[in-house]
Subunit: 224 residues, 2 copies
DNA sequence: ACGGGAGTCAACACCCTGTCGAGAAGAATC
DNA sequence: GATTCTTCTCGACAGGGTGTTGACTCCCGT
């Protein structure tokens, strides 16, 4: 769990009065609008009016447009981490199934909040805060995968090869970009129903080189 | 060759007088400034003043800031396609070496113009034109890889598996994102000297599952 | 010597951001 | 009930970026 995303004072208030509703209203408006237009096309005025307040009042709740997105991103990340759970600690049982579970859960979470994820990916280029947060989260996931790969190698299930960290970076990067294309729908993209299996296939090939070992009742080819 | 990037009328002029210099000056200024600040932090006024003209005059040469970047991107894409050449047609000789050559050449080209590539990646989120152009280029490369994978399968060098197109999308996506991280330097990234070999390793694993066959006098590791 | 196109820019209208200071609304204290 | 303090609200402003207009210059061909 231990969410990296410090879901703390992204807003500005410290009170407990009825202003909480306003903050939620802004957040809700943002997510609603994000489903329609791109983040860049949403002005602070849109957010404010959508929440029933004036533009200056908006600044009372958030320091800027980006902070709203950051708060939304915090939630998604927390949800993703919760969904991932401890799958990586249970790899030994049935690696293929566990890796698939991991990828699938991320897919579910991101898919459920695609508007937010897409907006963040687009803003990452221009906003340092989003860039920092995303970098921290990626680092967290990369380390988790790195550790899992090393564990698989240690128990003899996966062969040695690339530094585990580099491998983890490459695979995580692939997932990010492939999901982006699938959700955004621009450019060549894997069809949504197939994307988990496509990613899984590359992960297994890269980690195990010749299909995961058949520990339990798996159907992978046995290593030579 | 047949550059997808229609390097045609991205500018506005149709003349052949001394105005050509101005157009070049704008482009040069853009690439120079891009090496310093982010694209979003460069105003049209910066571009204009850098080229020794006033802001309205800028509009005589380009319809907007984005068109400048688009023109720059055209060049890089053309260069990348030229660098790639016909490597994919010569895979059979020494697959590992050829794949590495392909990836390395893209790496060289993008690395030489990282400022432009980075800026495009950041703007792709907000600018439809850049998005379209990049999507078209990706489609081109995906199809090339797809064809190469199918050829390798046909000659028995690579096993069947994922639809070649999905595999090509995943691998191309990985490269794009990994290069971005490496060049941008934010978030977890593969060190620049290693990035080609890391990518290559995943490509070979995903395409051949157990290392490419050693046809000629290649120096690739023999498959187990 | 002159008509016309290429090239140039001051000035304008517009939109968005962020801030300031004057207030309204309500709870706590006298 | 009046007073004070804090929370909350917004009209109005300043600043900076974009894109357009209309007039003006310069040069070239006739």
């Amino acid at each position: 769990m231990t969410s990296i995303a410090a879901a703390s004072a992204r807003g500005r208030r410290a009170a407990r009065t009825s202003g909480d509703d306003r903050e939620s209203a802004i957040l809700a408006t943002a997510e609603r609008l994000l489903a329609q237009r791109s983040f860049a096309d949403i002005s602070i005025d849109d957010l404010a009016r959508g929440a029933g307040i004036s533009r200056p009042t908006f600044y009372f709740y958030f320091p800027g447009k980006d902070a709203v997105l950051l708060t939304l991103l915090d939630r998604v990340i927390e949800e993703a981490n919760a969904a991932a759970g401890d799958v990586l600690d249970r790899l030994a049982g049935d690696p293929r199934a566990r890796w698939r579970e991991l990828i699938d859960r991320f897919h579910q979470t991101f898919g459920a909040h695609r508007a937010v994820v897409l907006a963040c990916a687009q803003v990452r280029g221009t906003n340092a805060e989003v860039r920092r947060l995303w970098a921290a989260v990626m680092e967290h996931w990369v380390r988790a995968i790195e550790g899992a790969v090393e564990a698989e190698r240690r128990r003899g299930a996966a062969p040695d090869g690339l530094p585990a960290r580099d491998l983890a970076i490459a695979l995580n990067s692939m997932n990010e970009r492939v999901w982006y294309a699938t959700f955004a729908g621009d450019g060549p993209a894997v069809a949504e129903p197939d994307v988990v299996d496509v990613l899984l296939d590359v992960w297994l090939a890269a980690i195990y080189k010749e299909g995961p070992p058949v520990n339990a009742s798996g159907s992978g080819r046995a290593p030579s």
